[in-house]
């Protein structure tokens, strides 16, 4: 079995490649032309193709002998239009090429951000309401791009009759990527912790990668849409404590009840920012909810469908993220200091 992995040298992608190899699946890794992959330590069996989905013209050859596409690539930096053009335009080019190939199986990396948090109460699982147009366009560049990427992929799948698995990870965390938007608002080295007892829908990058490899190999994943979280999630206060201990950061933590912050944000939005076109994410009610709304999360459907349990427990994940660096992932090039998105 051979998998084509886009975004293969990204934060998630490099672990997905390792997880696929561990399951004995051959890997063709698609990386950008100028990407440096030597430090990733991939074995020679990994077939590297260089292409930039934002501009590549002919991608059909990349699908030669490929049984499954694992589509992870997304543009997560730059302005809203750059993210859309890279993530959605890139997916159009990639799936046009797939349509001209013999490959009929696709695993898409979507996101929790496609859910409408504001309309969700109590439990956010696969049955939770999704964002709708035109409301989605108030959610910011990342959400618009990921929502469109999934919408577009489903259209191709319907038209071409492919087998699709959509995986929607929560906050993906790991080495160099420990700070999460769910932790509230950072001011210098201090933290305003909004809803300290709220649970975070989180998945460690190695656990998350394991689900992608499993979904690629397991026929039970076909036609499924599955959320990826490692479990019910740690509480914001607990994880922030572990993050600060792990990184050695020192700073004050000011706990603010979620209901109070939510009321202030909504009042400010109605009175001051209603007509504003550019407001910081945390002051926009829909984005505030997507980052911080206290909901319950579980991975029941993932467990029941694929029989999956996370290979690493929380303590092991902390050790992998903040402990001594294993030799195999040295010189990781993923930019740190940017909050992980969902």
């Amino acid at each position: 079995m051979k998998a084509l992995v886009t975004g293969a040298n990204g934060f998630l992608g490099r672990h997905v490649v390792n997880a696929l190899l561990a399951r004995g699946i051959e890997v063709r890794a698609m990386v950008r032309p100028a990407a440096r992959v030597e430090a990733l330590g991939w074995p020679a069996s990994v077939d590297i193709v260089r292409a930039d989905l934002r501009s590549a013209r002919d991608l059909v050859d990349a699908f030669a002998d490929v049984d499954v596409l694992i589509h992870l690539a997304a543009v997560v930096s730059g302005g809203e239009d750059a993210q859309f053009a890279g993530t959605v335009g890139g997916t159009e080019r990639l799936l046009d090429a797939m349509a001209a190939s013999a490959c009929r199986r696709l695993v898409l990396c979507s996101s929790f951000s496609v859910y409408d948090y504001t309309a969700t109460s109590d439990v956010l699982d696969e049955s939770a309401p999704l964002q709708q147009s035109p409301d989605v366009y108030t959610r910011g560049g990342y959400t618009v791009a990921k929502w469109w990427q999934e919408r577009l992929t489903r259209r191709y799948v319907e038209k071409d009759g492919w087998d699709l698995t959509v995986l929607r990870p929560g906050f993906i965390w790991g080495r160099g990527h420990g700070y999460l938007a769910a932790l509230g608002q950072q001011i210098g080295r201090h933290h305003v912790v909004i809803g300290p007892l709220t649970r975070i829908p989180m998945t460690h990058v190695e656990n998350c990668a394991d689900v992608f490899a499993l979904a690629a190999a397991d026929p039970r994943a076909r036609g499924q849409t599955l959320n990826i979280v490692d479990g019910p999630g740690e509480r914001v206060w607990t994880y922030l404590s572990d993050y600060m201990r792990g990184t050695g950061e020192r700073g004050l933590r000011l706990p603010v009840p979620h209901w109070l912050a939510s009321a202030v944000v909504r009042l400010a939005f109605v009175t001051v920012f209603r007509r504003a076109t550019k407001v910081p994410a945390i002051l926009t009610p829909k984005k505030f909810d997507a980052m911080l709304k206290p909901l319950r999360f579980d991975n029941r459907k993932l467990r029941e469908t694929l029989g999956w349990t996370p290979p690493l427990d929380y303590k092991q994940c902390l050790a992998r993220t903040y402990g001594p660096e294993p030799a195999r992932v040295e010189a990781a090039a993923w930019p740190s200091g940017k909050a992980a998105s969902i």
Binding site: A34, R54, G79, D81, A82, V88, G89, P134, F273, T277
Partner: protein, 346 residues
């Protein structure tokens, strides 16, 4: 008046958002080679129809005005097609890749009785317009010189210097800086008129995919002189405009709202710098606040684009004189042509 747009990229958002606020303008259709991009823009801006083939859009919609906001090398072909379909054309800068293309385009516009407007948005920002107003009333005195310098870090990996996907502007003579020449030339043109001669220095300070990252030019124009510049290394980012008149001087940063004037005042000469300094400090503090507040609302530094579009549509509706004429476009582009490098850097 029925408007349509080709090319739903970054700058298109400003055009579309503005068009939806203009009275008497119906945003009828949008076109992009990417179906998802066209459809998403249509949904976001409540546009009733979207296309991936611009000719089909022109035939189906028959728009009165077509906005061309694609990468610059495709402008000429799309603008010609829009003229042939009987539409006026508002094209993003640079209007064409070469002056010959522009001459063909403007000639065809005259033959068809349509207009071609190149977007000189910064000329219509508040600061240049306020300086032009003072010049018109005589308060400023005749302009002797204008100094314009854009300091903008374009060497980061996500934009013009992207090592993975070459930016379309790199195909222009002068590379990424050529994308900014219409701004420099149009502002110079607004204050000192058409150029007579230009001397330029193109150079490269840092390794990057860009052929040049520094540019300076000295212009002799009909009503005065100009020094124009672009620096990818000078920081922080700023867009400095200094206008020197026979009675006053003005300084503006067009990335912000900062605008200060210095001129004659009724105080003993030794005290003039003191009072000028106080006034300037007050104006800068006010600008600091208004620059912050405008981040929350409206077009920000694109205020000039909105003003330009508003005035253009008003003029088209009433058949009045346009804020940017075909003669202006030709004159500005003659200056751009004179400033272009004769050869690419090694």
């Amino acid at each position: 008046m029925k408007a349509a747009l080709i090319g739903a990229g970054q700058i298109a958002r400003q055009h579309l958002t503005c068009l939806n606020t203009l009275p008497g303008v119906q945003l009828a259709a949008i076109c992009d080679l990417s179906p998802a991009t066209a459809e998403a823009a249509a949904e976001r801006h409540a546009i009733p129809s979207w296309f991936t083939d611009h000719r089909q859009m022109l035939e189906t919609i028959r728009p009165d005005v077509v906005h061309v906001t694609t990468p610059p090398t495709s402008h000429f072909r799309l603008a010609m097609d829009a003229l042939e379909a009987g539409a006026h054309v508002i094209v993003e800068k640079p209007a064409t890749s070469s002056f010959e293309e522009l001459q063909t385009l403007t000639l065809r516009a005259k033959q068809t009785g349509r207009h071609v407007i190149e977007d000189y948005n910064y000329v219509f920002n508040h600061a240049p317009q306020e300086i032009l107003r003072k010049i018109e009333t005589g308060e400023f005195g005749a302009v002797t010189h204008v100094d314009i310098l854009i300091c903008l870090d374009i060497l980061g990996p996500d934009g013009f210097a992207d090592p993975n996907a070459p930016h379309p502007a790199l195909k222009l003579a002068g590379g990424a800086i050529a994308d900014f020449l219409p701004h420099l030339a149009s502002l110079s043109h607004a204050f000192v008129g058409p150029h007579r001669s230009a001397q330029t220095v193109w150079s490269k300070r840092k390794p990057s995919p860009l052929p040049f990252d520094e540019f300076r030019s000295v212009i002799e124009a009909e009503r005065g002189t100009a020094t124009l510049g672009f620096s990818a290394s000078a920081q922080p980012d700023a867009f400095w405009l200094r206008v020197y008149g026979e009675r006053m001087q003005a300084t503006a940063n067009l990335f912000e709202t900062r605008l200060t004037f210095d001129g004659p005042r009724n105080v003993p000469k030794p005290l003039r710098p003191f009072f000028s300094g106080l006034d300037e400090g007050r104006d800068i503090r006010r600008a600091a606040l208004s620059t912050l507040l405008r981040k929350f609302k409206g077009p920000g530094a694109y205020e000039g684009l909105w003003a330009c579009l508003s005035r253009t549509y008003q003029a088209l509706a009433t058949r009045a004189a346009l804020p940017i004429t075909i003669e202006d476009v030709l004159s500005v582009n003659r200056m751009v042509e004179a400033m272009k490098p004769r050869e690419q850097a090694a």
